[in-house]
Symmetry: C2
Subunit: 218 residues, 2 copies
């Protein structure tokens, strides 16, 4: 009330910062521990902030997880929309798209598990919202790219829904199944080289099978 405008702006900055710090801590914990099962106490410890701030900023764990998903995935949908609208041919778009998805999972390996946890734990309205906000735009973008490729005579005909699940699953599993990577293959960390090799592998598999004339691919 009695705050000057400058003091108020500064207080708002601190508030925004503590919300960001909580999201950063949650994200870091999920990556470190390779699970989305993290508690308020653990988030508070990791962030150095009081757990009460989680309720203050996000209302609940659900609210916080939604905010984390929005922060991590939200901006990628603008990029995806720009990609779909761009004047590239469908083959170029699909290559960019696969590399883009894998970059997101590399950075936020918990993303699909977070979506799944929210969908299971919450009422069907929230689950529907999450699918509409995150799954459907991805599926629609892929459908548009596949249709463009068919119209251009570049791609064979594919079922966009089946394509969606196989592509998302293929892109995700390296980052999701860290235990297999560690104990079945002896690799502790996914570095940028492995991320790039995986993107090249998935793109290679996909382009050869999607293109009508895969020999065009180098």
């Amino acid at each position: 009330m009695g705050m000057t405008m400058k003091a108020k702006a500064s207080a708002e900055r601190v508030e925004a910062n503590s919300a960001d710090l909580l999201l950063d801590a949650t994200s870091a914990l999920m990556i470190e521990r390779n699970t989305v099962d993290v508690t308020f106490v653990e988030i508070a410890q990791k962030s150095g902030l009081n757990a009460a701030l989680i309720r203050y900023h996000f209302g609940s764990k659900l609210g916080m997880f939604m905010a984390l998903l929005e922060r991590d995935a939200g901006p990628t949908f603008d990029d995806l929309e720009r990609l779909v609208q761009s004047d590239m041919d469908a083959a170029q778009k699909l290559r960019h798209h696969v590399h883009g998805i894998i970059k997101v999972y590399f950075r936020y390996p918990y993303m699909n598990r977070l979506v799944a946890a929210l969908a299971v734990e919450t009422d069907s309205e929230t689950a529907r919202f999450i699918s509409e906000r995150f799954s459907r735009p991805l599926a629609n973008a892929q459908k548009a790219i596949l249709e463009q490729g068919e119209a251009e005579g570049l791609f064979r005909k594919l079922d966009p829904m089946l394509f969606y699940f196989s592509l998302v699953g293929a892109c995700d599993h390296l980052f999701n199944a860290r235990h297999s990577l560690k104990y079945a293959f002896g690799i502790e960390d996914i570095d940028d080289d492995l991320r790039r090799a995986y993107a090249a592998h998935v793109t290679g598999i996909l382009m050869r099978s999607v293109l009508v004339q895969p020999e065009i691919e180098a």
Copy 2:
């Protein structure tokens, strides 16, 4: 002690049956609720048995989950070993393998999530055991099929580890992301037709990209 042999055999049968009933109930719950987060109380309710029997038969939830994984996935490794050892060419083996994996995930859609939950929640020795029992034999079988295909001049050269993650992820995601299927595509249940269509889709993607001369494929 004072039991006749017949009474003892009958008691053992009842015991074995109650262990099976608990595993059946757990499996059914995980499918219905699309999560591996199920409690002793829920398993007891579902099975109509006392929750104490879980401890009696399996020692702990970990023990029970390990038993469930062994029951669901264990027998498939004998089939896989027979497939690898058979005199089919590598292309036939790979097709059978993909259909086989998808059949397992269709029947036990929680399988990869169960492996992940066990790997995260348990000590590293258990996580290592799980990977050695379940992930590594799968990876080794795929490696053998890929090497055979290369030797036969049928397959191009592929990295077996990257192949493993992309294939398992592609096969799994339809069954794993039931929320997306429901809310983004409006499909409540995965029936046998969808299972078959998905297997054909994944096999189609894979064979076209793996085979040196994909035009051989119909």
